[in-house]
Symmetry: none
Subunit: 233 residues, 2 copies
DNA sequence: TCGATGCTTCGGCTATCGTCGAAGTATGAA
DNA sequence: TTCATACTTCGACGATAGCCGAAGCATCGA
């Protein structure tokens, strides 16, 4: 009868704290897994799964399967726009504002994704490797001859990796960046090799911290040879 | 903890059908009594009273006593803006019902958005004004010299508008079209001026109807000088 | 094939909230 | 003062919906 109920159904979806947390977490356009969103929303996995199903059914989110993960992102900029408008309204009408945690920045910079190296530095690594021609392909990646030599020199036993059934190279969608980082057996081997070399230290949780020499070595090995390209991007 | 709950409390208020009906009923900027809003929302007086108390406590509405009546209106244009944004989102995501009555077409053509002129004709007005160089800018719009002369000639007291705290020009996203129409103080003044001139008549609810001469005058003033451009769009 | 991990579904508990009848308060008119 | 109108508050009922434990799939790696 009225147009009220039409907006009510979608507004009701935004009206639950857990769902609102999920949506605001996704506001920067990243894609996140169910587990990550559950943690962000402060609810259990089952609860988050239910919320995500509702948001997906209402077309506020887009889902994308990747292995046993399921990545969700906002279905469009208009969703974020509505959320921002609501934040503005909430602020004017006297809702309380909160500060953002400092741990977030560290997580974004470098962290563990399952067993490999992710975050802004992880994306930079893969980009550098692609520019240098160490790996080729977009979705199904593989090592080039140049890459085999490079990683062998880096101290990685490629023969051992290729014996396993796990794919050596694999593109893994990064949640803080919008691009992929390097997963698969090589990604895992790279991470442990960098830890062995003293380049990286594991902090609490999934956060990774570079040592001074690690920072420098990383730059020289992956970033600097392609600095022009990386700077442009 | 997060900013989610902040928007959730506001969104939850919009998420109830009765309250959503109340708010959309008030979108034309009028002030209505509790009884009128109760009827519009399809609930009893007590129920409406409770809803209005909540909306008032959240500063989404302004209340004004007048004798034994109590008049409610939206607390500001931003509330109407959020409602329009929600309507647009509901439409894109398919929450809207298939029923498109004849009133719907009229609503889409020309209607009141809070206190200014919206709908397909409203979008055409802004487009024409932009093509003619009366206003400039996309998000933060401002009047040009040519525009000042034009609207003064149209019978609008620009000096008075600029004295107020409300922005003179403001882009307001239209939910039925995908473009903006003209809000702000100038948008409101334009609407009342067109009504004064006998160009437009207020029908029931938010629907606006052009008179014959109004239709012609509108075309000459805003659309025809830029017909080529408008036709293409 | 097996175990581990990520996610979904099911069932039941609980709390919240919308709803309206009935009673209470305030304003205006007779 | 007395009644009528407009609204608010109270109390109880019922429905909805969020939440989590437990169990069920599905995928991956060994």
């Amino acid at each position: 009868m009225k147009e009220g109920p039409v907006i009510a159904s979608v507004a009701a979806l935004l009206g639950d704290p857990a769902r609102a947390n999920i949506l605001t977490t996704l506001m920067d356009g990243r894609a996140l897994t169910v587990s990550e969103l559950a943690e962000a929303a402060g609810v259990t996995l089952q609860t988050a799964s239910g919320h995500l199903a509702k948001l997906d059914a209402a077309n506020l989110l887009m889902a994308e399967r990747q292995g046993r993960h399921r990545y969700f992102r906002l279905s469009g900029p208009d969703v974020a726009q509505v959320l921002e408008a609501l934040m503005g309204l909430a602020q004017r009408t006297g809702a309380t504002r909160v500060r953002t945690g400092p741990k977030d920045a560290a997580l974004r910079s470098a962290r563990i994704c399952y067993d490999h190296f992710a975050g802004e530095r992880g994306v930079a690594l893969l980009k550098g490797a692609q520019r240098q021609g160490l790996v080729e392909g977009e979705k199904d990646m593989s090592l080039t001859e140049k890459g085999r030599a490079f990683f062998a020199d880096f101290g990685i036993d490629l023969a051992a990796l290729e014996k396993g059934r796990r794919p050596v190279c694999r593109a893994c969608l990064d949640w803080s960046e919008r691009h992929s980082h390097l997963g698969g057996a090589l990604g895992a081997a790279l991470l442990s090799r960098m830890i062995d070399r003293g380049w990286i230290r594991r902090d609490a949780g999934r956060v990774l911290a570079f040592t001074c020499e690690g920072m420098e070595g990383f730059e020289v090995a992956f970033v600097q040879p392609t600095e022009k390209a990386s700077q442009a991007a």
